[in-house]
């Protein structure tokens, strides 16, 4: 190959690798940017007076007097709305029946939207569900509700050849000339006085219990459940994994059986995680009766099976990478094989083994399928350590899925879902960071 061609080849290779790196970082950015920007919305938002009332009444947090005086202030701002509403209801009684019929359905809709925005209307019976006791706690959601009050969403079906088109119809026009007419501009102009949005840093999202199945409150049970499951899986998988790796690399004679064993382990690494989940249900719960119901223990055991191959393979490679001279020196000094493994081989291979552990830890924390049937539930209390033996727990990966698909009010609580995603990503990052730091310290110590 002449020099010119070689140069060209070299350059193109360089540019391709640079492009790959750029593409990778772009992909990462596209993935992480919304996770962070939306996820932070669960922590940083403009909280309304309803948020502070909820914090005081449900978590006993905040200044009772300040909240009481705020309730008075927003109450005064809201009063004209309720007055106009009841004035209109009086007016409605005097109308002829056809006109009344037209307004009835609209009025019912407005009242239920007002309830969602500002909490129960005055003089109504006390609701039981928290979502009906409080108005919107977040300013962004409050704006959405306001828009729904101002404009009714209707569908124009006049073109019969295609699907209908959405038309926003001003409710003020619908109620023009009635006593409800002035309520709409009043709401539009005075919403901030009715809810008093203030910048809120809700760090307790991490440590609060969920209220009314995630309508309000935080995600502590899910976080704790994820930590339990991950640590439990590591506790079960690490000893078995390392022992298996030691056997494979040091003691197993290279026969057909051992190579079959290796093939099996590699295959195990490729089994889909849902299969592990079903196996966990069938084996740990229905056959072994590890616990009477789903439990953190059964979930951890299932996750441990899932990550076992990774740990075995990584540890085996690390053990093989230890120079032969180490082992020979130890053995020639009269150490028994076991002693050699424990005092020479394992410490030397520890950084490599830890790498495998780190990789599998992130995997265990984020897996959903293995815990669906063995450990995860949608609602539950945070568990005490000894309760993990027998009780199931909410866990971040499962509850993200649950909120995204099964929850009754998916659109109302997107921020909780995003907050959970961000927390899970950060949790995995944190676990990895801790493990990386430990590994760095160990290898530094090893070097002397």
């Amino acid at each position: 190959m002449d020099l010119q061609a070689r140069k060209l080849f070299d350059r193109s290779l360089t540019s391709i690798s640079i492009m790959a790196v750029v593409l990778m970082s772009l992909a990462l950015l596209v993935l992480l940017a919304p996770i962070f920007s939306r996820g932070l919305g669960a922590f940083f938002f403009r909280g309304t007076s309803e948020h502070r009332r909820l914090a005081l009444e449900q978590f006993n947090r905040g200044n009772a007097q300040a909240v009481a005086s705020e309730i008075r202030i927003v109450g005064a701002a809201r009063r004209p709305v309720y007055e106009m509403l009841s004035a209109f209801e009086d007016e409605l009684d005097g109308m002829d029946s056809t006109r009344r019929q037209g307004y009835r359905a609209q009025l019912k809709e407005i009242k239920s939207l007002l309830r969602e925005l500002l909490g129960p209307l005055p003089g109504e019976m006390e609701a039981v569900m928290l979502r009906q006791q409080y108005g919107q706690t977040r300013w962004d959601r409050a704006r959405v509700k306001l828009k729904a009050i101002l404009y009714s969403e209707e569908w124009d079906y006049s073109d019969t050849r295609s699907m209908g088109k959405k038309v926003l119809r001003s409710r003020q026009k619908i109620f023009a000339g009635t006593r409800l007419d002035p309520m709409f501009p009043y709401m539009e102009n005075n919403l901030s006085r009715m809810l008093r949005p203030r910048f809120t840093f809700y760090w307790r999202f991490l440590t609060d219990l969920s209220l009314d199945s995630h309508f309000f409150g935080g995600i502590w049970p899910e976080i704790l459940g994820t930590i339990y499951l991950t640590l439990g899986a590591m506790l079960l998988a690490i000893p078995f994994g390392i022992i298996a790796a030691i056997y494979l690399s040091e003691f197993a004679a290279g026969g057909r059986l051992v190579s079959l064993l290796r093939v099996c382990i590699s295959t195990l690494a490729g089994v889909p995680s849902i299969v592990f989940g079903l196996f966990g249900l069938a084996f740990f719960i229905n056959t072994l009766h590890l616990s009477s119901s789903k439990s953190v223990l059964a979930g951890s055991a299932t996750l441990a099976l899932l990550i076992l191959p990774t740990i075995i393979r990584a540890s085996e490679e690390a053990l093989k990478a230890v120079p032969h001279t180490y082992k020979e020196a130890a053995l020639s000094l009269g150490a028994s094989p076991l002693r050699m493994v424990l005092t020479v081989l394992l410490p030397a291979a520890l950084p490599g083994i830890l790498t495998g552990i780190i990789i599998s830890m992130g995997r265990a924390a984020g897996e959903t399928a293995p815990i669906i049937f063995t450990a995860a539930v949608s609602v539950g209390q945070p568990l005490k350590l000894w309760e993990t033996i027998s009780q199931p727990t909410p866990a971040l990966p499962w509850n993200i899925y649950n909120l995204a698909t099964e929850h009754q009010a998916v659109d109302e609580i997107r921020h909780v879902q995003f907050g959970m995603v961000l927390t899970l990503v950060l949790l995995v990052l944190l676990l990895n960071l801790a493990a990386i730091l430990i590994r760095a310290r160990i290898s530094k110590k090893m070097r002397g």
């Binding site: 039981v128 050849r161 000894w386 199931p392």
Partner: protein, 274 residues
């Protein structure tokens, strides 16, 4: 060795404590339709009785029944009755299923709000799901193929739909099966030509519920029996719970005024005699 024995001791200790605390734990598993009720009751009960842990999972009525038979849950929340073979399996594993009807529900046929079709008849719904009616234009709508969506076969809502609407006939092959009420609603929200069905508590303004045989699905029409696709929602326990136990008080919340208000607020219909 020392570490291993320490871990074992700890595990046994923890195990012992765990079993001692077992009476204050209730595990509910099953229907995604009954899920919101079970969750609301659980949070209400746990607030009044701190120290009790009630966990609720939503994996489908079929899973609830299986868990009950395998003794891995205390309450199976179900949107259909147990099938004969499930009763048989229960009896074989010495379980006596006791059924509590906690609420009533109608299965609403939902379409995207942009869909101009305003009503359907039972026969039309059946024909659509049989694959005989394939286009909205056959129902007075625009020219768009109907995307039919159904719950998976593990679901009690599916069983009810199959029994009441399909009358045992097979759903067309091109039907799309999804795993929960919420998932059907999301599928219909995002697909203008879709048709699906959900429990009445899952209706909201993002989808349009169609009247069936000129009857709109609502609390009144379900209760008086005029809405044709209605059914009770159940909680099933092994034997009647011991009086006064946490399980007894949790299950019977639906009889209390607050319990019935909660069911109403969630969007289902409480069982009352008035």
């Amino acid at each position: 060795m020392k570490i291993l024995s320490a871990i074992l001791t700890l595990a046994f200790l923890a195990g012992g404590l765990g079993f001692a605390a077992d009476s204050s734990k209730i595990v509910a598993d099953g229907s995604t339709t009954v899920g919101p009720i079970a969750k609301a009751f659980a949070e209400f009960y746990m607030k009044q009785n701190p120290g009790v842990n009630i966990t609720v999972s939503e994996s489908g009525s079929g899973n609830g029944a299986k868990s009950l038979v395998n003794k891995s849950c205390d309450v199976a929340t179900m949107s259909r009755l147990l099938k004969l073979n499930e009763y048989e399996a229960a009896v074989h594993s010495e379980i006596l299923p006791v059924v509590h009807v906690v609420a009533l529900d109608g299965i609403a046929m939902i379409v995207h709000p942009s869909n101009p079709v305003a009503k359907l008849s039972m026969a039309q719904v059946k024909d659509i799901y049989l694959g005989k009616i394939r286009n909205w234009s056959q129902l007075g709508g625009p020219n768009a193929p109907i995307v039919i969506i159904s719950r998976d076969t593990n679901s009690g809502t599916y069983e009810t739909f199959e029994g009441k609407v399909m009358k045992g006939e097979k759903i067309a092959k091109n039907c799309e099966y999804v795993g929960s009420n919420g998932a059907i609603r999301q599928r219909v929200q995002s697909t203008t030509s879709a048709l699906g069905y959900v429990g009445i508590g899952f209706l909201d303004s993002t989808v349009k519920a169609l009247p069936i045989d000129n009857v709109i699905p609502s609390a009144e029409t379900v209760k008086n029996g005029s809405y044709p696709i209605a059914r009770p929602l159940y909680m099933v326990t092994n034997d009647y719970p011991k009086m006064g136990s946490h399980l007894y008080r949790y299950i019977n919340l639906y009889l209390s005024k607050k319990g019935q208000t909660m069911i109403e607020e969630i969007g289902f219909i409480p069982v009352t005699s008035y």
